[in-house]
Structures are given as structure tokens and as C-alpha cells.
């Protein structure tokens, strides 16, 4: 029997699902919720970059800004929660709308946790630079590389949310290997002779920073999973990533 499915997507490019809601306020509320989550995502990326720059830059002052701004993301998370409650109570969303609301609530939680991690990195940066210690160049390079790949993945994840774009979500999954590789390189560098000038007490916060950045990458992947959930109607958490990526790449073919 020929099907005209509501789920699925064509290869590449953004297409439209259909009509707006009959009740315009419903669309406005959904758009407002998405706006909050996008803002959280964008600010989280800035926070991560700021926290890492406190380790890489000439001084640790960006870390203070990160810690100052952290509560703003918490407030955005509270606003997003309130918007979710209001939407569920007033609109009783179904089908794709229900998935959007659930996914945006989960994405808000992921972004908020990622922002917490940025604050943790900032705290460790202050700890590390308390006596004006500078990172040895090899560690700087490895940390910068990890930061770039993590921030790139997180930005992709947030961008994927803006249109629930499967291709961008798949790109985040594809970044995972690079994230692992960059994290591995940083860990290796931290225990390599190049880091020898640093005493163990100085290395400890850097190891934590490396682990924390890796976790931010996992939040990016979790956001991408929610994008797939909305667009495809499938919960892909805990699925084998390689098979998932392969399936999503060949969807519709």
C-alpha cells in the first residue's frame, strides 16, 4: 500500500512539514521555547570557549566572566521549563508537537549541564593559574584542538535544533571520533615528558578539564539524538552509533 509518511526526510536540504497551526499563538509559544533553547545553546558555546581561553590566553580573567554569566543560563533553563509546562498544560501537544516539546525540554537540560561544565572548567582554570602558571605549548595545542572540535560539535548540535536538521545531527555523531581522538591526544600530552615541568598538583586540574570537555561533547551528541527523535520519530538513545549513522545516511534511498 503506497504510503505518504509524515516522518522521514529527503536527502539534504531543509524542507517544510506543512501548515502552521490554526492557532497562531501555539506556533508563537513553540517558537519562543525554541528561541530560549537556542539562546542557551549559543551562550553555552561562548561559556566553553571563555573557560578554555582562561587556560590558553594571557590571563585568567575570562574565567571570572564565565562564572558570572553561569546563573544567566540557569535562569534561561528555568524559563524553558516554565514554557514547557505552559505548553503542555495549554496545548496538550500531540505527535510531532509532543516530540518537539519533549525534545526541547531534554535539550535545555543538556545545554544547562554543558554550561555547568563550562563553569567547572573556569574554576579549574583559576585554580591552575592562581600563581600565573602558563601551559606548556604542546598542552596548549592539544587543549586548543580539543576545544575546537568540542565547540564545533556543540554548535552543530545547536544549529541542528534550529531546523531539526538530520544531516547536521548526523554530522555531530560523525564528529565523535575526532572528539575522542583529540581527547586522547590531550591526555597523552598531559602524561608525556613535555608536561614534565608541571607538578602533579598542576596536572590534576588539567586532567579534569580534559574529561569535562569530553563530557560537553557527549552533551552535543545527546542534543543530536533529540533532533533525530523529533525529525524521525525514533528514540535513538543507547543505539549503536555506527549502525545509526549508517542508517541515517542511507535514509530514503
Amino acid at each position: 500500500m503506497a504510503a505518504a509518511p509524515s516522518g522521514g526526510s529527503p536527502q539534504g536540504g531543509a524542507k517544510t512539514l506543512g501548515h502552521p497551526h490554526r492557532v497562531r499563538a501555539y506556533d508563537e509559544e513553540l517558537t519562543r521555547l525554541r528561541g530560549l533553547i537556542m539562546e542557551m545553546g549559543e551562550r553555552t558555546v561562548e561559556q566553553i570557549q571563555g573557560a578554555v581561553s582562561a587556560l590558553l590566553g594571557p590571563d585568567a580573567s575570562p574565567a571570572y566572566r564565565v562564572l558570572d554569566r553561569e546563573p544567566q543560563i540557569d535562569f534561561l533553563a528555568l524559563d524553558a521549563d516554565e514554557e514547557v509546562f505552559r505548553l503542555i498544560a495549554r496545548r496538550q501537544p500531540t505527535a510531532v508537537d509532543l516530540r518537539i516539546v519533549l525534545a526541547l525540554a531534554r535539550i535545555a537540560a543538556e545545554a544547562e549541564r554543558a554550561a555547568d561544565k563550562a563553569a567547572r572548567i573556569a574554576s579549574h582554570a583559576l585554580e591552575f593559574r592562581a600563581d600565573d602558571t602558563r601551559l606548556p605549548p604542546p598542552i596548549q595545542d592539544a587543549l586548543r584542538a580539543l576545544d575546537e572540535v568540542i565547540c564545533c560539535a556543540f554548535e552543530r548540535g545547536v544549529a541542528a535544533v534550529s531546523r531539526f536538521d538530520i544531516d547536521l545531527a548526523v554530522a555531530v555523531f560523525e564528529d565523535e571520533a575526532e572528539m575522542r581522538s583529540a581527547a586522547g591526544t590531550l591526555h597523552q600530552t598531559l602524561i608525556a615528558p613535555a608536561a614534565a615541568p608541571l607538578p602533579a598538583l598542576k596536572l590534576a586540574p588539567l586532567v579534569i578539564v580534559a574529561h569535562t570537555l569530553e563530557h560537553v561533547g557527549k552533551h552535543a551528541c545527546a542534543i543530536a539524538e533529540q533532533v533525530i527523535y523529533v525529525a524521525e520519530g525514533k528514540d535513538v538513545r543507547f543505539r549503536n552509533r555506527e549502525i545509526l549513522v549508517e542508517t541515517l545516511r542511507h535514509r530514503g534511498s
Partner: protein, 287 residues
Amino acid sequence: MNALASEIVRDTSAVSAADLAKGGHFSGTIGDITTPDPRMVCREVNVWYGDKHAIKDVSLDIGNHQVVAMIGPSGCGKSTFLRCLNRMNDTIDGCRVRGSITLDGREIYDKGLDPVPLRAQVGMVFQKPNPFPKSIFENVAYGARIHGLTNSKAELDALVETSLRKAGLWNEVKDRLDQPGTGLSGGQQQRLCIARTIAVSPEVILMDEPCSALDPIATAIIEELIDELREHYSIAIVTHSMQQAARVSQRTAYFHLGDLVEVGETTQVFTNPRHKLTEDYITGRFG
């Protein structure tokens, strides 16, 4: 401002509501029209009101001990289809029904089949409560009496009590059975009509928007009752309330312009519908 969901990367090959309205071709029902234990089996049912083709090749099973919700915009044919299930459309001039509808394997449109006992086997509850202008007792006893279902006053009394109990009304009316049914509240009247339907031992109960005239409390009581009745009967319900369909049914069928667009497990239809038309309708995007 664009709809958030309208920006999602989606398949645009799906037939749209506008296409169908212009006479576009509908490609067929999505989902499993069959159930493992069907009470009624409908195949390629077509209905015309004069020249108007109101139901187009609709096939659907009504399962045993199951509630099937029929949803869709006004004029989509869901009530027309419901009325086919006990030949209520026979009473409408110019209405023609083609196709096959069987109840326990027997074709209900056989020329030799008397529709009166059929309508006892396949009872109907209407949108607006319509008790007879008689006592509460007589409202329930009437059908049993004309169908000759009881042999004595004691049996009739027992039947009335059982039916009112099943309809969840006995405790509220047991001390005033001789009072007019029309004196009850709207919700009680609707339960009285359900008791009247139950009293003639139906196999299937059809409900055409049974709660649309009731307040939320009365609606909740009827919905609870529907869930209890499912243990004994097959139920097909037409409703305009998406939430009600989601709450009371196990399967949902979405109709559009006389076509059965999609049928499936209610949870699946309301969380992840497979047809774009279904999704547009249940999310309020129809346009």
C-alpha cells in the same frame, strides 16, 4: 511567524489536504486495518448520498473487547461510516451502501436480514442524550420488552438493575426508578441511554460523540464507563476530542474526505502518526 514544526526537514511527497480537496488521488490506508480478534469486519465500504461519494473503499475491523476511535474533520465521513455498522443509513433517502460488513461472520447487508434485531446487537448512543419520555425503569426495560428478552417481571427487574449497574447509574437512581428519565442531569441521561443500549444484550456499541453535550465531570464518568464496558462489548466511538480519543481507545482511525487515511494503535497515532494528513489534523495544522 513560521511554525516551528513546519521547518523540520520532512518528506514533501505526501499528498496534502489541499491536493485531496481538489480531487487529488488518495493512495490508500496506512496501518493495519485488521485485528486478531474481529467482531465486525468491514471491507471496501462505499457510501453515496445521491451523487455525493461520502465513504470511499473503507476497510476496517472492529475488534473484540476493544474501543476504536474514529476521528477526522467535520464532513470526513466518520459518522456516516459508524451508521453503516448498524444500518442506520437505511433510513436516509438516497443513501446507498456498497461493500461488505459482517458481524460475527454474517453479512449485515443481506437482504434477508432484519435490521431491527441487528440494531439491538449493534446498539447506538447518540451525541445528545435522548431518553424516552418515560420513567427511568421503562427507558431501560423498553427494548428488552419489545425484543422479548425476558419472561417475567422478576427477570425484567433484574435486567434493568444489571443494565443500570453496568452503566454506573444504579446507585444514583435506584430509589427513583419511577421518575421520568428526562428529569436526570445530562450526564445521567447519557448513562441511562447507555443502560438502555446494554439492556438488549448488544455485541457492539456505537457511540457518536457521546460526550459532546456533557460537562468535564460527566465526560470523565462516561469515559471511565467506556473503559469498563470494553470488557463485555466492542465499542466504536466517533469523537471530535483528540484527547478523548487518546484516552478511551486502543485503536484510532483517521478519516479525511471519505477516505480512511490511517489506522493504528492509539498511542502510535497520537505520538508518531505515519501519514502527514493525520499529523496535520491531530496537531491542529489542518489548513
